[in-house]
């Protein structure tokens, strides 16, 4: 029999306690993973807006609470275009609208028809709208599919009826699930004439993107350049707060879980003091005795982590179907989420198991054997 088999057999003999500890770890892991995946999903949804255009660089107003609150005027857009190394800059107005209960966050993109191609938009059916049209729209192919619309049909939103002139594709799921309007018309509807939300930049060939980003950040301090989703927080403070809340909740979950693990291990230690004393008396070293206790906890923690991940799949499937999160939350189980699950379980075991392990190590065989 191996030491591991001895350990597993010992765990099996105390099934109720083992199950209790496993479930404590599982619930903590489920909480942490669900928070992580929710946060990551919301981050991806929010950051998807910067990926709509096929740009080298996106520019937004710095430090806004929500990136869709970013506001760049025509003067700033002109200054961006004047930055050395910028090949082109497309100003885009991005708004959201609740179309129906099942589509609570419909994205509306205002963009001039001449900017469609530089923006990376491919018209897959019909034709683009006219620049000065007030009742024309192009539907993303996903949105067209969702609403069952075709070229020539009518789309009702913003209290207006729009003629669908074309169907487009951007290659970005978020963008393709929305609609594009003439920039001037969307600015007028939202009462923000001359303003855009984001500027999508192409960098001149041979110029490093980072150089242009630095120039923009230096020359236009009220704006910020974003190249990756991880830099999204520069513009969107909500995301920073969300990440901080998730990190705080993770620490809290680990600490609560560690207390439960520690308490269970301590009870187990009291329950098994004579057993540990006996093992020490017949020649087990302190290291082996502590190894038995920590090893048992680690095995349960790993099982708990696996159960917790499975539970989080269920929880997120429910969350995704909630009306308030439908279309916004896309559960994305990344390797980071699994790593966090494992880390949580191991951290709980180490933190929670430390004190019982120290107590176990300090036990002398004789005092353990005489323990009642």
């Amino acid at each position: 029999m191996s030491f591991l088999a001895y350990m597993l057999r010992g765990l099996w003999s105390k099934k109720v306690r083992a199950a209790g500890l496993t479930m404590a770890v599982a619930f903590a892991v489920m909480t942490v993973v669900s928070l992580q995946v929710t946060s990551s999903g919301l981050e991806q949804s929010a950051a998807a807006v910067i990926s709509i255009g096929k740009a080298d660089l996106t520019v937004a107003q710095k430090g806004v609470s929500d990136i869709l609150s970013s506001s760049i005027d025509e003067t700033e857009l002109a200054r961006i275009r004047a930055v050395p190394g910028v090949s082109s800059a497309v100003g885009v107005l991005v708004e959201t609208e609740k179309v129906s209960a099942s589509v609570p966050l419909f994205i509306e993109i205002g963009i001039a028809p001449q900017d469609l191609a530089p923006f990376g938009v491919t018209v897959v059916a019909g034709r683009p709208y006219a620049a000065d049209a007030t009742n024309q729209v192009m539907m993303g192919w996903r949105a067209a599919s969702t609403f069952g619309l075709h070229v020539g049909d009518r789309f009702h939103t913003n209290g207006t009826v729009y003629d669908v002139t074309g169907i487009y594709s951007t290659g970005n799921a978020f963008g393709d699930a929305g609609a594009m309007f003439p920039l001037v018309a969307l600015q007028a509807y939202n009462r923000v004439p001359g303003m855009v939300t984001l500027a999508f930049l192409k960098v001149a060939p041979g110029v490093p993107v980072t150089t242009v980003a630095r120039r923009i950040d230096f020359r236009l301090p009220e704006l910020t350049s974003i190249r990756t989703a991880s830099q999204f927080g520069r513009a969107d403070r909500n995301l920073v707060f969300l990440q901080a809340a998730v990190n705080g909740s993770t620490i809290l979950a680990v600490l609560i879980g560690a207390v439960i693990v520690g308490n269970t291990m301590l009870l187990s230690l009291f329950e098994r003091t004579r057993e540990l004393g006996l093992l020490r008396a017949v020649g087990w070293t302190r290291r082996r005795t502590v190894g038995l206790l920590l090893g048992e906890s680690l095995v349960l923690a790993l099982i708990g982590a696996a159960v917790g991940v499975c539970l989080s799949f269920g929880v997120l499937a429910i969350l995704e179907r909630l009306p308030t999160l439908s279309g916004v939350l896309h559960a994305d189980f990344t390797s980071a989420a699994f790593a966090r699950a494992l880390l949580t379980a191991v951290a709980m075991t180490i933190i929670g198991g430390l004190y019982p392990a120290i107590r176990a190590a300090r036990l002398t065989p004789l005092e353990a054997l005489s323990y009642e």
């Binding site: 029999m1 191996s2 030491f3 001895y6 057999r9 010992g10 099996w12 003999s13 105390k14 004579r274 057993e275 006996l278 093992l279 020490r280 008396a281 017949v282 020649g283 087990w284 070293t285 302190r286 082996r288 002398t364 065989p365 004789l366 054997l369």
Partner: protein, 238 residues
């Protein structure tokens, strides 16, 4: 008695065995609170000797056994096993594992583990592989007439059977010194008799045995009996 139990008495050289005479030299043990359990005890037990220690409760019998097993340390004086001063041995766990077999009154088996695992557990940390540990445990359990019951839990055995498991466990690492604290104290006469026969067989292998007992009948079975009172040896065994 079965043939299997008889086989326990067959001579077998212990691997890596060391001389195992027991020497107590002016040993004093004072517990916290001032209880003087041993008071300048001088004692020599020769290798292969079968010695019983008897005396009233609280006279220091178990304390003497604990010191010999390196489970406790003397307040003063020296305990030597096989000529080695226990206070100079850096790894007492290894000493207990390889040199000493311990048997308690209440057999002290691990309740959640089958009896074969109870025997195997004391062999962790030895040179034996998992396969060898398993074979050795099977062999020992067969020798104490528990073949076929290896996978039972201790709670599924009688008191006498459990004590036989404890003896098998104590012999697992082929110790040269067997220390037993009232091994028959909780057994009925028939089970106690079987256990004592096992001790006799073990003694014939040349293992030094020190057994604490209250029972004068059992004490008489040994080569020598040591009488203790108030922490002192009051009448040396013959």
């Amino acid at each position: 008695m079965s043939e299997a139990i008889r086989a326990l008495g067959e001579p077998a050289a212990a691997e890596g065995s060391q001389p195992c005479e027991v020497d107590f030299d002016a040993v004093v043990k004072v517990y916290p609170g001032g209880v003087r359990a041993l008071d300048r005890v001088d004692l020599r037990i020769a290798e292969g000797e079968y010695v019983t220690v008897t005396g009233p409760s609280g006279c220091g019998k178990s304390t003497m056994l604990h010191l010999a097993a390196a489970l406790d340390v003397p307040t003063s004086g020296t305990v030597r096993i096989g000529g080695r001063d226990l206070s100079a041995i850096p790894d007492l766990s290894s000493f207990r594992r390889n040199q000493v077999g311990l048997i308690f009154q209440l057999h002290n088996l691990i309740p959640g583990q089958p009896i074969i695992a109870n025997v195997e557990a004391v062999m962790f940390g030895t040179h034996r592989s998992g396969h060898e540990r398993r074979n050795r445990a099977m062999e020992l359990l067969a020798r104490v007439d528990l073949a076929g019951r290896e996978h039972r839990l201790p709670t599924q055995l009688s008191g006498g059977e459990r004590q036989r498991v404890a003896i098998a466990r104590a012999l697992a690492n082929e110790p040269r010194l067997l220390l037993a604290d009232e091994p028959t104290g909780s057994l009925d006469p028939a089970a106690a008799d079987l256990v004592l026969q096992l001790f006799e067989r073990v003694r014939r292998r040349g293992v030094t045995i020190v057994m604490v007992t209250h029972d004068p009948g059992i004490a008489r079975l040994a080569d020598r009996t040591i009488y203790m009172r108030e922490g002192r040896i009051v009448e040396p065994g013959l």
